[in-house]
């Protein structure tokens, strides 16, 4: 093993990433090589100093100082946490839209009703309407009205009565 490989393995050994065989080879190299032994000691000392810096604590009352800032943000964006609910509500909303759409498509609209259906829906007596037709004095007009009334029953589109 040369010193370059040994250095890599020294660093890996500090991270616990060296297998047994490599560790054995490194040990043998270190026994025979003073400069790599020195490097190992230096690296160990350096890493110990670096790891010492981990335990630093923030200034006192960290949460107490953070809390009002969070409150401000919450007030500035009142629907902040709705976003999560929105995502959950999307499928439910789509389902409602689908059901409502289906109901609209399959329910006949008032404009598509025949005259007699419309009269029934309006709760109007159809006989009164028929009496009006038959009561027309001019025979031409009466015939025309009867003709259109019969057409109303066959076609869904309503035409204006003369």
């Amino acid at each position: 093993m040369n010193c370059k490989t040994a250095e890599k393995r020294i660093l890996r050994s500090f991270d616990g990433r060296l297998d047994e065989r490599s560790a054995g080879l490194l040990g043998k190299h270190l026994e025979a090589c003073p400069s790599c032994r020195k490097a190992e000691t230096e690296y160990r000392s350096m890493l110990a100093l670096l790891r010492d810096g981990k335990g630093a604590a923030p200034l006192p009352l960290f949460w107490e100082r953070l809390q009002p800032r969070l409150r401000e943000e919450r007030e500035a964006a009142p629907f902040l946490f709705w976003e999560r609910w929105n995502l959950r509500a999307i499928p439910a909303f789509l389902a409602i839209v689908f059901v409502a759409g289906a109901a609209l498509v399959f329910t006949p609209r008032a404009g598509e009703l025949t005259a007699s259906e419309a009269l029934l829906l309006e709760n109007t007596n159809p006989i009164t309407a028929a009496e009006q037709l038959f009561g027309e004095e001019k025979s031409d007009e009466r015939n025309m009205m009867l003709l259109f009334a019969s057409l109303d029953d066959k076609t869904p589109a309503r035409r204006p009565t003369p």
């Binding site: 660093l11 230096e42 335990g55 960290f62 902040l80 999560r84």
Partner: protein, 191 residues
């Protein structure tokens, strides 16, 4: 309570759950900021801003990674932004360092040792700050924060191989600069 559950409650707007997450991670975020800035007030400010950012982004956290990893990513990006705005960190000169490391012979032996350790720690931190950003980040995450390789890969979006090679290079650079001040064979070198 499990962290996953805390995160879910915090996402639903529970301040108590978020407080618990803050108390769990405040030291880690702070010490990371401190290792980049070396100023406690600035590091504290940065840590507060990181938690504010995390709070605002919380509804968009889908739990694909660990909460800690996600928070580290926010921290790293925020600290990098701060340093970019402030101007690149200056390379530390040896003259600056020696001034700090000046020895006081009148102190007791024990106090002297403590002072020397502190001086070495300061020295190491200064040199870490003097590293190019990509190496500084990786040394901070691995050797100061103690993150696992896999977690560093996730935080920095780098392959484990890249993490390995960058870390190796960063440590070599640091050792090269620090060698005269580190404990070598035969005891401590003079500071």
């Amino acid at each position: 309570m499990e962290e996953r559950q805390l995160v879910r409650l915090a996402q639903e707007g529970s301040p108590a759950a978020f407080e618990e997450l803050v108390s769990k991670y405040q030291s880690k975020v702070f010490s990371m900021a401190l290792s980049f800035t070396r100023n406690r007030e600035v590091a504290d400010d940065l840590a507060q801003e990181v938690f504010l950012k995390a709070y605002l982004a919380l509804p968009r956290f889908h739990g694909k990674s660990e909460f800690g990893t996600w928070l580290y990513r926010i921290s790293i990006n925020h600290i990098k932004d701060y340093l970019r705005k402030k101007g690149r960190a200056k390379e530390v000169s040896l003259d600056d360092v020696q001034e700090i490391a000046f020895s006081n012979k009148e102190q007791t032996e024990r106090a002297e040792q403590e002072r020397e350790t502190e001086a070495r720690r300061t020295l190491v931190q200064k040199f870490v700050q003097g590293l190019p950003e990509k190496y500084r980040v990786i040394v901070t995450l691995r050797d100061i924060q103690g993150l696992a390789y896999e977690q560093i890969s996730q935080v920095l979006h780098l392959s484990p191989g890249t993490v390995d090679s960058r870390l190796h290079r960063a440590r070599r650079m640091l050792r090269k600069k620090l060698a005269p001040y580190l404990l070598g064979e035969g005891g401590a070198n003079e500071l």
